[in-house]
Amino acid sequence: MESTSPRSIKVNAIGLAQADYKGLPSTLCQGCGHNSIANQIVQIAYELSLRPHEVLKLSGIGCSSKSPAYFLGQSFGFNTLHGRMPSLATGALIANHHLRGIGVSGDGDTASIGLGQFKHMVRRNVRMVYIVENNGVYGLTKGQFSATADEGQVLKYAGTNEFPPIDICMEAILAGCGFVARSFSGDAGQVRELLKAALSHRGTAVIDIISPCVAFNNEDTSTKSYGYGKEHENPLHGIGYVPKEAEIEIEPYDPGEMRVVEMHDGSLIQLRKLESDYDPTDRLGAMHRLQWAQEKQEFITGLIYYDDSRPNLAETFRLGGASLSTLADEQIRPAQSVLDGLMNSLM
């Protein structure tokens, strides 16, 4: 790929500057958590030297779903329907399984209108990063509760929320997801490391990012606010991503201090032990930890569950070197003799 940047500007391994990964200026509110996430995507895409044309950006409808316009302006994208991005992503990423999908959804888009498609995409294990920018509230329609809002929460517009929240991470694990993470848009470093690891994942990687809505849900009492997040974020571990290409010798480490998870593509996830040794490969443990956190309104972040044993959908379909969209005509239209033979058998 040719670089559009002058020599004086710092470029990555494929000759692109960070600016080449930018999108259009954001039209979201000043201070919106979603803008921070878009910026982290720009940065990691630059750091990982992603080829823009190999990325497909996807979104549903809502504030979150506008944001793919604000990063990777040289990548193809599709702003789809409310709650229906997973199906379009499935089709596009099977038609061209070499594309790396980055989906951005919201809590309404995923946990309310789109819960069905979300779970079915996860169980099919479509290879993509699926980010939920979770703020517990509908922004564009001015402040209704979403399905991830806390039970008993009070909002000026919407009144009291009478119903228990849907936990996106738990839903993902139940549906068979092999990469389930939670983060906080105010914790940019963790968001970046999780995004990088998610891009290396074999199948669907779900990252539920609490991303405060400064307009409708940012009172300190709200668990989806900046104030609450900064005060209460409880990382399960310090997380670092080491790409396969880096060929970095990992410093010797004490297994009591650090866990290293090797990913399907050979990349490594380093999990530095914090107060307790959390094991993200224990499915039941992960569910237990999430339920405990929900009950105690505890804001845990980090890689909650990891398992790369299930094949992704393209592998299940035995898709090969050429994508379905680039097969030559003679590979997809059988010869005249084939039709004639079949016709004879029907006489």
């Binding site: 379009l88 992503a89 038609a95 379905l324 079949l342 029907l346």
Partner: protein, 646 residues
């Protein structure tokens, strides 16, 4: 109850030959219980007759049920080659005790009833010839038990019928061999029962009826299959690479066939790499979403569904129209609204699909009427979707899709695939790229596919307002010019889609317009109308939108009858709205009871309307047009009453 057979309609006229026999010109109906394996027996008879060289068509009139409810299988033999449904069947295979009372009442005078002799009593009619076969005796002899017993008892009527009608056993063997894909052991087991029943009948039944079959050579070189199978095969030869679907009668068998043909003809071979993916989605919302996604990414993507599924697809259909994504959607129509009659046939989705999507949408629709057209449109729909960058709908129906029809062998696609205006990276470098710009004046823009590595090739597809460069825009002039371009594109489609098939008769004041599976009944009815002094021109629409030929055909006729299988005359409504100057010439004839159309219904409906016309039919055209305007309202009303009484 008026399912399948229509006693009030009276018998059809059968020609009796010199020997006093009715040969190759009658219909058989087998009344059985659903899920007992009777389909194997019925298809064996159908294919045996086909192998005998006799034009045939089979129609399964079945319930929405897995097991137990009544089902009727109609086989029409027509030495004249007619394949439309008939109102009555002269030969009844009464193998369902639950419906026997009704079934026998539907027989015309001189009809034949073949029934299970184990039943104690059945309703007697003096003008019907009865033959009883002791089914239990045959079943006992085979030693079969349980479900197999049902299968075997169906083979008993096959054998008895073969004797009664002169169907050679060798042809039945061939037919069963086809159905069991050459598994001789299974064929032999079935043939043993068929033979036993045949021999018993030959010894014990004295033939007192007139109906016989005799070999012809009218089907040599022809094939027989279902429309859904033909459609799937067409898709395979259209280079389908992606399909997503959700099970719904009567479209499911299309995807079943697609899976089977893909595996057979495009399966993973030496490379070990697949050339297609078929996903059973969680619902139709997802099925169409996947198809739009795959189409956007450059696959030849399709789905198959029926009316209720189309409802769920509406939102993505609108997005596909507006974001301009190729996709192929087969709608195998059944009776609605709502769940309606899910196992009966209809042409009730035309206006729904034509305008599917909110805001201003108009969609391209193909209207197959035969196996050959199912196959042709199976691949042409992909070409059109790629050329026009829009979802293309193919409206088949249950009758065409699920029943077995005869056809000439399919013609291999004569031209290479048409992939439309797709720019490579080199193209973008040379000519630049603006996704929604109308460069050629035909309303069709250029597109790039994800993976194109030119830095200017990418764009952000969306359902929101956008300018020529696919950038979000709320500017009124951007919105308006884009919508006008889409209208221009639709006009381009008029001459890209298959045009109408016109069969004009010199001097005919009357024209018939129809589409889809009303074709066989109309072709038959035109002969009868002509014989009754009412010659008709016939224009069969093969697609929407219409082109100038449609207007010209209407203009050449004083009165046009638009014949279709829905209540409100959906295509008539479209024609009236798009050709307002000619709308007074159009009279809508609609048939919507869920049963395939018959020649007789058309004949009587047209004759009723024609009789209501003033006598001076030979007026000057201008006067005729005025008069049609006056009379039309009356003929509509009159027609509605006639239909109710029918």
């Amino acid at each position: 109850m008026r399912i399948g057979l229509d006693p009030s309609a009276g018998p059809e006229v059968n020609e009796v030959n010199e020997a006093g026999l009715i040969v190759n010109d009658f219909a058989i109906v087998a009344a059985t219980a659903n899920g007992t394996g009777s389909q194997t027996a019925n298809l064996a008879i159908l294919r045996a007759l086909f192998k005998l060289g006799i034009p045939v068509n089979g129609k399964n009139i079945f319930p929405s049920n897995i097991q137990g409810l009544p089902t009727w299988y109609h086989i029409r033999l027509s030495r004249d080659g007619f394949t439309a449904r008939r109102h009555t069947a002269e030969i009844l295979v009464a193998f369902n005790q639950a419906t026997i009372l009704q079934d026998i009442q539907t027989l015309p005078p001189g009809g034949v009833c073949l029934y299970n002799g184990d039943w104690r009593s059945i309703p007697q009619r003096e003008d019907v010839t009865y033959y009883a076969v002791p089914v239990n005796e045959f079943v006992r002899e085979t030693g079969m038990k349980g479900k197999l017993k049902d299968y075997i008892s169906n083979m008993v009527y096959v054998g008895a019928l073969a004797w009664l009608l002169d169907i050679p056993l060798e042809r039945l063997d061939e037919a069963l061999n086809f159905q069991f894909k050459g598994k001789r052991k299974t064929v032999e087991a079935n043939m043993a029962v068929v033979r036993a029943a045949y021999d018993w009948s030959a010894t014990n039944l004295k033939r007192r009826h007139l109906h016989r079959v005799a070999p012809m050579d009218a089907t040599a070189g022809m094939i027989m299959m279902t429309g859904n199978e033909a459609a799937a095969l067409g898709a395979v030869f259209g280079g389908v690479t992606f399909a997503a679907w959700y099970p719904i009668t009567p479209s499911t068998s299309l995807i079943d066939a697609l899976n089977s043909y893909l595996e057979q003809l495009r399966g993973v071979k030496d490379t070990g790499e697949a050339t297609y993916a078929v996903i059973q989605a969680e619902d139709e919302l997802a099925a169409i979403g996947m198809v739009i996604g795959a189409g956007f990414a450059g696959a030849r993507a399709m789905t198959a569904t029926s009316g209720p599924g189309i409802s769920l697809m509406a939102e993505y259909a609108g997005l596909g129209y507006f974001a301009e994504v190729p996709a192929v959607i087969w709608d195998i129509q059944r009776v609605g609204p709502s769940t309606g009659l899910p196992t009966r046939t209809s042409q009730g989705d035309v206006t729904f699909v034509y305008y599917l999507g909110h805001g201003d949408t108009k969609n391209v629709i193909l209207l197959p009427s035969s196996l050959q057209e199912c196959f042709d449109f199976g691949y042409q729909a992909f070409d059109l979707a790629d050329l026009l960058q829009t979802p293309v709908y193919v409206l088949s129906d249950l009758d065409l899709g699920m029943n077995n029809w005869m056809s000439e062998p399919f013609v291999y696609p004569p031209q290479p695939m048409k992939r439309g205006k797709v720019l490579t990276a080199a193209d973008v470098a040379e000519q630049g790229f603006a996704r929604y710009k109308d460069i050629d004046g035909d309303g069709i823009p250029y597109r790039t596919l994800p993976g194109n590595d030119h830095p200017r090739a990418a764009y952000f597809a969306r359902g929101t307002g956008h300018n020529d460069n696919a950038v979000y825009s709320e500017r009124p002039e951007d919105w308006e010019s884009n919508m006008l371009r889409l209208a221009r594109k639709f006009d381009t489609a008029r001459d890209l889609v298959p045009g109408p098939v016109i069969d004009e008769v010199e001097g005919a004041a009357i024209g018939l317009i129809a589409y889809g599976t009303t074709r066989p009944a109309i072709e038959e009815a035109r002969g009868r109308l002509s014989a009754a002094g009412v010659p008709t021109g016939f224009m069969r629409l093969r697609a929407l939108p219409i082109n100038n030929e449609v207007e010209a055909f209407i203009a050449r006729h004083e009165r046009i009858y638009v014949i279709e299988m829905n209540r409100d005359g959906q295509v008539a409504t479209i024609l009236q709205s798009e050709l307002p100057g000619l709308s007074t010439r159009l009279t809508s004839l609609t048939h919507f009871d869920g049963m395939p159309l018959t020649a007789r219904w058309i004949f009587e409906s047209v004759m009723t309307c024609e009789t209501a016309q003033p006598a001076s039919r030979q007026d000057q055209p201008s006067q005729a047009a005025d008069r049609a305007k006056d009379v039309n309202g009356h003929s509509f009303a009159l027609n509605a009453i006639m239909l109710d009484e029918y």
